[in-house]
Symmetry: D2
Subunit: 324 residues, 4 copies
Amino acid sequence: MNVFGDKWTFTSFGESHGAAIGGVLDGVPAGLHIDLDLINYELDRRAARKRHVNDTETTRKRDVNDTVTEAASYGTSTRAFREPDEVEWLSGVMDGVTLGTPIAFIIRNKDARPEDYEFLKHSYRVGHADKTYEQKYGIRDYRGGGRASARETAARVVAGCIAKQQLAAKGISIQAKLIQVGAETDPAKFADTIEAYRQEGDSIGGIVECVIEGLPAGTGEPIFNKLQAELAFAIMSINACKGFEYGTGFGGVTQPGSAINHISGGIAGGIADGTPVTFRCVFKPTPSTPKAGVKGRHDACVATRAVPVVEAMTAMALANLVLS
Amino acid sequence: MNVFGDKWTFTSFGESHGAAIGGVLDGVPAGLHIDLDLINYELDRRAARKRHVNDTETTRKRDVNDTVTEAASYGTSTRAFREPDEVEWLSGVMDGVTLGTPIAFIIRNKDARPEDYEFLKHSYRVGHADKTYEQKYGIRDYRGGGRASARETAARVVAGCIAKQQLAAKGISIQAKLIQVGAETDPAKFADTIEAYRQEGDSIGGIVECVIEGLPAGTGEPIFNKLQAELAFAIMSINACKGFEYGTGFGGVTQPGSAINHISGGIAGGIADGTPVTFRCVFKPTPSTPKAGVKGRHDACVATRAVPVVEAMTAMALANLVLS
Amino acid sequence: MNVFGDKWTFTSFGESHGAAIGGVLDGVPAGLHIDLDLINYELDRRAARKRHVNDTETTRKRDVNDTVTEAASYGTSTRAFREPDEVEWLSGVMDGVTLGTPIAFIIRNKDARPEDYEFLKHSYRVGHADKTYEQKYGIRDYRGGGRASARETAARVVAGCIAKQQLAAKGISIQAKLIQVGAETDPAKFADTIEAYRQEGDSIGGIVECVIEGLPAGTGEPIFNKLQAELAFAIMSINACKGFEYGTGFGGVTQPGSAINHISGGIAGGIADGTPVTFRCVFKPTPSTPKAGVKGRHDACVATRAVPVVEAMTAMALANLVLS
Amino acid sequence: MNVFGDKWTFTSFGESHGAAIGGVLDGVPAGLHIDLDLINYELDRRAARKRHVNDTETTRKRDVNDTVTEAASYGTSTRAFREPDEVEWLSGVMDGVTLGTPIAFIIRNKDARPEDYEFLKHSYRVGHADKTYEQKYGIRDYRGGGRASARETAARVVAGCIAKQQLAAKGISIQAKLIQVGAETDPAKFADTIEAYRQEGDSIGGIVECVIEGLPAGTGEPIFNKLQAELAFAIMSINACKGFEYGTGFGGVTQPGSAINHISGGIAGGIADGTPVTFRCVFKPTPSTPKAGVKGRHDACVATRAVPVVEAMTAMALANLVLS
């Protein structure tokens, strides 16, 4: 199924090289002013759109619509000359204000040229979901990854941005950032580290940390729907994410209880305690690299582009818990 | 809410010092023979029941019904003279065979003596959920932890064991084990390591690894309900669990793509690829230690008792995905 | 599945001749005082318990636990010497006040004597669900109807009474009554009408009308979850119910728009308009009659006992819409 | 919420005078050939598109996009010069075959001219949902009914037609027809009866009967999700529907058990018994008539256009029960 949430819900649809991707939000209350500029800003963050100028034609074709791989479409570079994603609002908003009815939107896929993907019709790419889709459905949209493409996360960013605006109105903020690239933990050196891997035709993973502030004490359900379980579910659904931890996390395993029991991570018994909630998640390196035989400029560290998606999924998880 | 799953569902109920804990399973098909001995065996694993003989009276009172803390009721020791948990089946089973109707069961709380907990009526225990429950509900069952008690996991173990039996009939097996205690990774030395922390009146965390074999390729949904997201949700709902990872996990962050991209962890694009699925999760040390002012024999490493609970939650997550 | 509601939920379990019937309520807020006397009163209404003195022994055995048929256990008469249903509360309530945690309760089945039903092991009763259960599950609890027994509605009445108490605290009241028995619409003559059918060894249907007052304008969802759709779903789930209508109903078909368009039935576009909501539902006659070969005193009009069940289901439908 | 179903799901969106109406289907399996002609045929049935030629300009403006009222857009007449509804497929289908991914589609609203509705900005229409929407949301799309417009049912017809195609592949057929108009039960006289009401500037209700054939015995859940409850929920969500009955229905109330207990209506204990399932539903007359002050040609009997919507909702209810 393709729905996130059960009270505040987001339904995602669209293949990366079909007519459009998009989504439907249900449960957003009436009367909210939507800041469209903020949505475009978040889409640009995800697309890392402003930076790149000299991609090869080969790369440009491959990258259009983010379709290369589960992972490859995040990154600090590569998408030159690209038009920004344009959101078309179909319903639920009148004069910039929500009506309380379902909000549907689409982002058209441009310049899709499915014929460029004919060569994938009868082959699976290493490290991608091509094969499991075919195992599951017996059929797949071979045109550039279909639903498994990271392009699908653009729709999440739109939905998450509306959730963030609702949360902000309640004093709840979400801030994610990259805190580690490979073994490097000094942000000043991230760009150089990534560039070094790119030069080698290789790629590297990263860790994103996210801090939630202003979450009311009492948020979360005590047994199965613990706050940390809801967050883990949301975050682990992001392409290329391989782990989630909060509070003392995995690192805490070497520390005695006497040293770390004061650390709550903002949650006790599954319920927010009113202090900031901090969690971390890890993204693997993209498999689409020159070293692996994929030509053209590549995303050497997809974790960089995951940052706004982490915020979006966090916002949707919280919207479902506190806004409905 | 207190329901796990949406097709194969388990509803959990019961306070640790109320009349009983228990649950209702809905969606278990008719005609399944339930192995009651296996359920009792799993309950004993969780209770670590057979080992201990000389707890102090103080401890015995505190530990009855597992109520001490979110974390403390797991462990390699401590529950002397305890009667085994006895499951009473209320519905859904006739002559040991399921009817296709809801399976309800209870485990009575014995010797609860709520008066022993009067002292908690107006105080919160450090590192426990006492305060957040009161923040959420404005009221709490102060008798030994209520729903936040690890005793609640006994009901999960019963439900998970039925799920395991259903999965086994389809050739799917689940096997969890402790792979790290503190910094120690040699299983031969876990007991000594734990004993050393106990001697110091302290506690230590641990990491549990779980392997799923026989899961059909195609299991899992590609977008939000990715297999790894469903597993993370199930596992992060266990008391004291602080992190979840699969495949290359957090450790993979220092490795280049060229070194680790062949590792799938059994999942691609959120969908099982037919190879074994392996994940790990970390449990923090209990806050209830002599060093923290709690008297009596204590569970120096609750991760040991988490092992059957990890299997139970994994089984339920898979049951909901493949058995309904 | 055996769950009603998605926010305020009630899970029902139990075979009529197993150990117990019961249920779990999830989503009832903390701090509600439960009026246990009111629950017992509603159970007596459903059981029509106080009236009867001279049933034959044959009937008494058959009727214990309400198991005779889908329909037969409602009625104005018949259950002599019966002990009242006793509710045992297992969780979620402390000192008569809800904790915000799941409320589990059971009603033990007394004097079940499943051996009396051995004769049903290999036969289906006419007009009952024996055969469809076996078609669905390949197995059934032949002991007196199992889950298809009207006894299951006792658990609904308990749950519905808690919902009613919550609704009453918000100024919402629900009142159902019998308005037609056969062709008779004068309540003063209902008893005689029913008695006449009983004398003939036959049975007769009835119509129940229900009025909801105090429902806030705006209750209900405009498209699929229209208030009338939610009510119809709840009411049509009652054993022996064959139809639901509100506002102008079926009778309105012969009236021109100009004559009846002022009648809203309390709902416009699926949403409550703040005026009383009135609906009607019809119950078929029981198939278990002397005329049909079933011996002993019988329920000649099960619609009479459906009245508290109609209120209970209405209360649960509204609880799910307005209390969660 | 705007979702129908929980396994086979349809999410509906769109205001009648916004950019588009549309929907997302989730849970349709991969590999289904979609018959687009059949979908267009069903849309024409709902729009009653082929018949009319000489509507007044006033009527044409009012009727564009079906927006007049909850009820008025069904009917045997009136929509001259109208372009057929054109479905644009956005995702989930490649070369006419489903991919197993969400199927999203839109129908653009043409010639909407919201300025024609300015006069409604500060007034409520009698018998419509204008006021309850505003009570619920505090805001409404005053342009021609918004979501309350019967135009929304066009999206249901598209989704239902896909469900019907899936069901047909399993040998399940659904056939609805008008069986009563006012007091008239002879189909040969329906047209004249309706025309007579139109001449008087008035309107009249009707009863639709629907027969499901080929439904496997065992379909339906025995307690809350009885087959009749699921059907009633689906049907009562249709605009202007005021009642649902099956089997002996309301008419059976005057018959003794001995006369009607052999009638199952295709369902026993909530579960299909393998025989045809027959139900009936009633539609009220439109409030938008010359007699009520609404000018122009009007739909004198909206029940006629409800027929394909009844089939669509039935198909979706069954798809959710048997196809997922």
